[in-house]
Symmetry: C2
Subunit: 413 residues, 2 copies
């Protein structure tokens, strides 16, 4: 938790209502931090449907392995998340730590170990002492309460400068349902590893495979469209749980993601995921500005996304933004290096509404003053039109500042 809150932080936190069927507790287990909470327990009254998407890293953390293995089971009774230690690259000890944690949680909740989900974020390569959990989970299970979302978001923070929460409502077959979510950001945990964790819970009654389809589709334009520094964590985890409590109001269970009754829910979920993902970017390490990069006119949507990410991950683009420099030449460079088809002489580029380049050269009406005015804002829209087809994509990133280097270059010891 940093002393200085990001200038891009939301002005206030969303009021988080309780979601029927889930309760939470936090504790300070002293895993690494002093004087703050570092463990979150989520408890589902009854087995909840569960869906998850995880890091694509070839070297995932032990908790990611554990969750992937349990996911086929389809229901969840509890979630244990800790900050301060990622339990990643910890070999057989890491696996043993997940097993011990799951066992403790299963005992505390009176359920099977395959109904427990785990996530860890923090230092990697250091063995996680799971015995620290066994002492606290019993009491946490007793203390768990529904009105605890902001505290839950705080317990999983690492170098985040603010807790990330979001809530939406939707209706399914005329029954009102709630979706709540928390996230922690791709800040770096001093001194080690960036990790994005997010947990979303709804009281809707939706079957696991339908839930997984919704989540897998929703992650594309949200969490998979944000980047802080192009570095992918070993531990990224996004999970969606459906407690089914809305069945008590007469919501008929939804078995398929294609069900037309999901229209409102899908929109609300996607909106919530994007809200949380943008909160993560806006808390990127050292961030002072946010970039919304839209590429259109590509041959395909996939090509547009590759090019948009090439721009978003370019250190030269990101340092120019930090310097409020309308340096569109670096956008051209990033388009060119992406490897996707581009025709230099059809390119057009905008900062905000100001077109700076067209037909492969500087706009004849180019105004440095107008472009610079856009760069001086906090939120900077960049649009690139390739002029080739109808493929489009939008991604989000933040600037690269000296503070990023300071945060990540500090001595570990």
């Amino acid at each position: 938790m940093s002393a200085t809150v990001s200038p891009l932080a939301p002005k206030s936190y969303a009021e988080m209502p309780a979601v029927r069927g889930v309760s939470m507790a936090t504790a300070a287990a002293g895993i690494k931090y002093k004087n703050r909470t570092d463990v979150l327990l989520m408890v589902f009254d009854r087995p909840a449907s569960v869906a998850g998407v995880f890091t694509r890293s070839k070297c995932p953390s032990a908790p990611v392995d554990f969750c992937r293995q349990n996911l086929s089971h389809g229901v969840a009774r509890g979630v244990v998340v800790n900050s301060g230690n990622a339990n990643a690259f910890t070999g057989v000890k890491g696996k043993a730590a997940t097993e011990l944690t799951a066992k403790s949680a299963a005992v505390a909740l009176g359920c099977g170990e395959n109904e427990i989900y785990l996530a860890s974020t923090g230092v990697i390569g250091e063995p996680l002492d799971a015995t620290k959990f066994s002492g606290v989970l019993d009491q946490m299970a007793k203390d768990a309460t529904g009105d605890f979302w902001l505290e839950a978001a705080k317990a999983i923070m690492t170098t985040d400068t603010y807790p990330k929460v979001a809530t939406r409502t939707a209706e399914i077959g005329g029954v009102r349902v709630t979706i709540n979510g928390i996230a922690k950001g791709a800040g770096m945990i001093a001194p080690d590893m960036a990790t994005m964790l997010s947990f979303v819970v709804t009281d809707a009654d939706i079957a696991p495979h339908a839930l997984q389809s919704l989540l897998s589709a929703g992650v594309g334009p949200s969490f998979n469209s944000v980047t802080v520094d192009s570095d992918t964590s070993t531990s990224d985890t996004l999970m969606l749980f459906a407690t089914g409590a809305a069945a008590g109001d007469g919501q008929a269970k939804v078995e398929s993601a294609d069900d037309a009754r999901l229209e409102s829910f899908r929109a609300a979920l996607n909106d919530l995921l994007k809200d949380l993902a943008l909160q993560v970017v806006r808390d990127g390490e050292g961030a002072r500005k946010m970039l919304e990069i839209t590429v259109k006119g590509a041959q395909t949507n996939a090509a547009a996304k590759v090019i948009a990410l090439s721009i978003a991950n370019s250190p030269l683009v990101k340092t120019a933004v930090a310097g409020e420099d309308a340096n569109w030449g670096r956008i051209v460079m990033a388009v060119g290096k992406a490897g996707e088809v581009a025709d230099r002489d059809r390119l057009a580029i905008w900062f905000g509404d100001v077109r700076v380049a067209v037909n492969g050269e500087r706009d004849p009406d180019y105004s440095e003053a107008a472009a610079t005015a856009v760069m001086q804002g906090q939120d900077i829209p960049v649009t690139v039109d390739l002029g080739l087809g109808s493929g489009t994509a939008t991604v989000y990133t933040c600037d690269l500042t000296k503070e990023y280097v300071a945060i990540n270059g500090d001595y570990r010891s």
Copy 2:
């Protein structure tokens, strides 16, 4: 040209002998810089064999287009290089500027325009006023001298903090030949675009297609194995010229790259290319340390290189190095995100001779003090063994410092 010379600069410049068959002149044409040279003319007494490799950018500069087009011709009489303006993303004006420059040079040298090669480095998107060349090239052709390599290297600098020169000798069929080269680095030209340019000349007598084979093979482990910030220029150019003057000493012309008489030449050329490439990295913007990253035990050499570049381009790895932090967790992260096959539980990692991780976890004998001692050095070897096969690759990069952000984040105006 920066006021502060990189701490990684060579202690002294190589003594550059003349290479028979080539002469050079520089001039201050006032393209952008004041009080320094910004144009280089290389003149070949007789048509020289020529080979080139260029940026893979889909948005290449006008001079890159021009050179690619002339390369099929196979011989060169002159090279014009300017700094201060990259003539990139300049549309039809850019093409016209290359044509006018080539025409002026061809008149000055009494040769065809298809025997002229061009390179430009500097601001992009701004039209290059080629009339500035027509005034100077005639006089330069008259003044050209063979003993001018260091001055040639200086004229093509942008944000380089030192000129880059290298020389080697070899023998072909018992005849001694010389290879000289100059380069400018992937520093950013304030305020725009990084570009790597390098020109190598030998007096050996080698046919164009053989020369191209030598160069295309030689660029892989040298210039294509270095990275400063992962951003690919629109203008990267590496050219190799063979004047053939050694024929006067009885060197029989070599027609094929497979010719056994090229053994010594190939080794000397590869060594020179690596020397120049490392000089570029050691002058990376804001660089304080150089990283030599070796990946072994991969399934293939290509996979090893992808993983090595993933490590070399990771902002988290590079900031850790800047902070002298033996943060091997970030190496694991970069291996995991590369997308190539890796088995977390077989990974081993060394900083220098200090093994910090083995069998997927921290080395049992891990010594923070020993690892930190390596990180405090100027040149830092990193070795990763994937334990899967015999694929191997080595790449070179520099650290990511606050100065990099300062250099590239400064206002353009």
